[in-house]
Symmetry: C2
Subunit: 417 residues, 2 copies
């Protein structure tokens, strides 16, 4: 039963369906158009790796971090199993549960919250991650008997210069990244997982992102961030072959067998002081990024994907400034550190000084944070002129297990068995 | 010069453009697809009425309320004129200013913030409104010499039962409603108006909406709110002919000549306790709304647009409960009160109890709030069982002037001349 071509199983529902079809408006016209739209299609849920990492970055994000509020290992396992079933259904364009939004027991809460009825799968992916506190909580307690399976690399991130982190919107025992081409579908998925988890997990924080800022496939164009620039054009992409084994996926020899084929996820909520940025000159903006604003080309080059020439000088001055963002963030300047980035722009209203609370919700996947995010952020936090215009307000790290192989598998099975 | 088929005027930009086109990736692939997409088209900015009211409701919203921080009438007028020019440009798919994002003076801040470069008009509409405090400020001062032009109907809304309003995110001297089918385009527009207004206005609050909850044309399907229901199907729509003169547009005899052809705008941020709602039975949900959840039909009827039968009984009990939302909100129960609604769902992260900060940003246009929103909300606030699941956290009222006639006209000209 899919949300788009069937409704609830109850007889009232079937009668209503008949009447609706006769009237010619049972399904929203937008769904008809969506059927022809590649953005409406379903992404495969099962596979060796979780979807939502290499999947061509969808347009919209709802990211949620949860705390596990039980200390019962079996309850946690049952939740992960129930979540896996619901996630597979929703990624296929179906309701969260078999009763649908309005077709199950009339005198029970529905199996689905209903706001996605009539909407297609919309490229939904759901990607789970486990935070360090799932293994050992803040008091050092091994609640779930998995402390000895904590990977060496899954450590709280070190402090960085200029960090302005709010602990209330950082960290988490579990996370789920919902990406979709329709924000209602992403919101619906997170909400239904939270509903299923009631009594077992509590949402710690969540973040909406309205527009992707990264490409994860060479078939996608590089979008612009809220500073108006293309950034991260040297991002790892799905087509990068062997580089993905080297930089993205955890290997069998990396010291955490249950995580083989998974990846480490780092999130950072980066507030941008856009009002200040908007009052700087184009010259300064381009010098700070080390790119021209219109094309996105490294300064001194002509195309976005041209290799930056960090040696080039004009009149004895480096064409790309010593502290330009493109230079500080470049793999060649950070021991070949590379990540797969799939961040999103956000606007969370305005602050009490009349400024937009806007910026980039940074998301990066990597084989080892010590060889990925950490050295790059250390370099950026200490040197990047861009720091005058940005502020990191949230931070989290998670280990994302490998993909769910089939209907008998579930999120985290290898960790708990 | 449009954002999609031209870039900055500077020679560096032209050189980059040439190189970019040669490389075959100067314009993002998504823009090419967008050119075939009706959601990408431009909406006419000039007309007898402002666009963004009867315009078929676009998918995404960025709404901003501003305070005027000057007491200089000429500065305010200059801002309104500058805003009108920029708004007309952006609604046409162009940069906010003639220099574009990267083509003006290299040693000056750009004329446009740049994040919409490469994006089509995307159905952008920008709709301005004037709040009561623009006419007489909180201290009773007539800052701009327009106190005597305050319409009788532009009064602060009365308090309603159960109001839980946060003054910091309520009210405002000015508002701009940006609706578009691409959220980046809506955000870009508000941000550039705020940029142009720097020193004259300050943002008081703003709200993003990720998905429309209303239809303003019979050509659109009724979307679902975050309670999973279709609501407001009896909404005024663009095709309603004479009803629009009666219920939507301010008439020449309504006591404010400058506002003829305009409309009063009421906004309410309505938080929904979705977690609690999701644990109620389908039976209770349908009884509260007075509709079946799947089809959206009034209880006892079969189609969404069937007239509700408020007299029908079954086994001596009303089929539509005495306090059902559909009954309390219906025009026939409120002296034929009718509004044009174009609200949006929002999720602003999570609260500190682990609940989604989610709900409906209610937007309604009407000829007279005393004959529209006020009686309906009085009835709902005192009787609606839905109040157990919702909370009004923000409120504002604005008078939206008539449309801008042509390039010599500007937002609010009739008020100031």
């Amino acid at each position: 039963m899919k949300r788009r071509n069937a409704i609830g199983l109850g007889t009232a529902g079937i009668a209503a369906a008949g009447a609706g079809f006769a009237a010619g408006r049972f399904w929203p016209a937008t769904s008809e158009a969506a059927a022809l739209d590649p953005n409406a299609e379903a992404i495969a849920f099962y596979g060796a790796h979780q979807a939502g990492i290499l999947t061509p970055a969808q347009d919209r994000l709802h990211f949620a971090a949860f705390e596990v509020i039980t200390a019962d290992r079996d309850e946690l396992i049952a939740l992960l199993q129930a979540w896996t079933v619901a996630a597979a259904r929703m990624c296929g364009g179906d309701y969260a549960g078999p009763g649908g939004a309005a077709g199950g027991d009339y005198y029970a809460p529905p199996d689905d919250t209903g706001e996605a009825q009539g909407l297609p799968a919309s490229g939904l992916t759901l990607t789970i991650g486990f935070g360090p506190t799932l293994f050992t909580d803040a008091d050092g307690v091994d609640r779930f008997g998995i402390a000895d399976r904590l990977p060496e690399a899954l450590r709280e991130l070190p402090p960085f210069a200029l960090d302005a982190l709010d602990p209330a919107v950082s960290g988490g025992d579990l996370c789920v990244q919902a990406c979709a081409n329709d924000p209602q579908v992403a919101v619906h998925a997170i909400r239904n997982l939270a509903r299923i988890g009631f009594g077992t997990v509590s949402q710690r924080w969540s973040q909406l992102g309205f527009g992707r800022t990264s490409s994860t496939s060479t078939a996608q164009s590089t979008p612009r961030n809220l500073m108006g620039f293309k950034d991260g054009t040297a991002n790892l992409k799905a087509e990068d072959g062997d580089l993905l084994e080297k930089h993205l996926w955890v290997g069998a020899d990396d010291g955490a067998d249950w995580l083989t084929g998974g990846s480490y996820l780092v999130t950072r909520r980066i507030r941008m002081r856009v009002e200040t940025w908007d009052r700087t000159t184009l010259a300064e903006q381009e010098e700070i990024f080390g790119r021209d604003k219109s094309e996105g080309a490294p300064l001194g080059a002509t195309g976005e994907f041209d290799e930056p020439d960090f040696e080039a000088e004009a009149d004895g001055v480096p064409v790309i400034a010593a502290k330009a963002h493109i230079r500080l963030a470049h793999p060649t300047m950070n021991g070949d550190a590379r990540m797969l980035r799939r961040g999103y722009s956000f606007v969370d209203g305005s602050d009490n000084l009349g400024r937009l609370d806007a910026g980039l919700f940074f998301i990066a996947y990597q084989r080892d944070p010590e060889a990925g995010f950490i050295p790059v952020q250390r370099s950026l936090s200490e040197n990047d002129v861009l720091n005058e215009y940005i502020e990191h307000t949230s931070s989290a790290i998670f280990a994302c297990p490998p993909g769910v192989r089939d209907e008998d598998d579930w999120w985290g099975r290898a960790l708990f068995t």
